[in-house]
Amino acid sequence: MRLPALRDVPRAIPREDDFSSWLRSPAVTARVGLWLGITFGLAFATGLISHWAQTPSPWLAFPTSPSWGYRVTQGTHVIAGTAAVPLLLVKLWTVFPKLLARPPRGVRELTLHGLERVSIAVLVAAAVFQLVTGLANAAQWYPWHFNFRPTHYALGWIAIGALVVHIAVKLPIIRTALTSDVDSTAQDRTGTAAGPGVMSRRGLLRTTWAATGVAVLATAGSTVPWLRHVSVLGVRSGTGPQGLPINHTAAYRGVVAAATAAAYRLTVVNGDRQVRLTLADLRAMDQTTASLPIACVEGWSAGATWTGVPVRHLLDLVGAPAGSEVLVESLQEHGGERVSTLAGNFSGHPHTLLALDLEGEPLSLDHGFPCRLIAPDRPGVLQTKWVGRLEVTA
């Protein structure tokens, strides 16, 4: 058997015209692309909100209400990314022949073609990257060497930028496609069949919407309580000690001894003023009960009822002025959630608590015993557990 000569290889690669499916039409691409653009827009906007919520001292204060705000935006972030998976795969399928288009002749045409190719390569690379890393992060799987949060944030800007450039380039085609019938052949590539083959365009679109719906229903129960029993692929069933899931246990963070020691004291510091409180001291103070969600950056969330001492009451003990910024430190020595900053509007909120009880029982060790921070409209990673120290910083 003779191997094909190298000059035969380009001829063996299919050409754009070799693809004749009636379904690979701009009429289909634009309709799937519209919804894909909406999911990416939602993921980008909610991603910005999450970045803002996690910025320690933002120039514009993150709001404390509604208390369920971050729960909704971050749940939307992950749901939108999940919904984008079937949409992206179908959309890329409809345009796959374009990948095999041979470059045009002529310097100007070749340059424009090359630039568009680069912009699409950036868009596809960033889109796949965002979905893959986002879904892996939701399941706390980190098989990479980059820093997830800032990298995912940077790529969010790149993905949305490349998407907007893509829309700018394709706008006339998009507009014609969306204002014409889905069966219109006006913008089809040469070589496209004149009528339906295996299925109709409407059939493919309905199937794509169904695939998107199934993907969302199968996963959204991690944050939407009434879907909990439907979402068989959700990262969490929503159960755990005291009815609430846990990210990191006390044993994992190495705080069991410090958190259960009889010598435990909560230190509250404002300049040279300092008080040290035992757990009994905290229990003797006025308690407030509030229903607040734990809403994790990974997209899962759950509501709970917490009872504890408002942080503002503790700040009063050291004479901290209204609107003080407070650094909350955990007993844990490692981990990204070891410290968090309470901006002035959070530290003064009546429902920003050092919680001692969860659902009417003392906090379990894994939920942050002896006391944890819980505040409205705040990412779970900033709801510091096993709190050892509050320090007024501004």
């Binding site: 795969l89 796959f96 799987w141 980190y142 930028g161 199937t207 990210n247």
Partner: protein
């Protein structure tokens, strides 16, 4: 429209440029690790996933009876993306003994149930359409069906 397109183009370039600057600002080691995944994603889609889909489609056209092709496509368009996005759960890569409330479902069981439900729904939908067509109703053929 020209002004809109130019404005969108500039806006997109600015946003993308800002993202690029944020990425480079994280240091070269981080950028290099990111590039591996960026390029890897495109290679996996364009070089592996898409060709596999093409080959499967060509085989299906020869192997599957023509009136069963559309139901097969419907089932695969729903189930393949669903399976891909469930890879972190099915593989339980992020699971750890000391993190018992994460990945705390039987994902293969859930996945099997979903596959069964989707296949059953597509099959019963196909049968229902065929019955309606046989009875002389035009619902099954009006829009070309599936």
């Amino acid at each position: 429209m020209r002004a809109t397109r130019v404005a969108l183009l500039l806006l997109g370039l600015a946003a993308g440029g800002y993202g690029g600057w944020r990425l480079l600002d994280l240091g070269w080691a981080n950028t290099r690790a990111t590039l591996v995944w960026l390029v890897g994603g495109v290679v996996l889609h364009d070089g592996v996933f898409a060709p596999v889909v093409l080959v499967v489609a060509l085989l299906a056209l020869r192997v599957i009876r023509s009136d069963r092709l559309a139901p097969a496509v419907v089932a695969l368009v729903i189930l393949v993306p669903l399976t891909l996005l469930a890879v972190p759960e099915l593989g339980r890569f992020g699971a750890r003994a000391d993190r018992p409330t994460l990945l705390d479902r039987d994902y293969w069981l859930g996945w099997s149930v979903l596959v069964t439900l989707v296949v059953a729904a597509v099959a019963s939908g196909t049968v229902a359409r065929r019955l309606m067509t046989i009875r002389g109703g035009d619902d099954g053929s009006r829009d070309g069906g599936r």
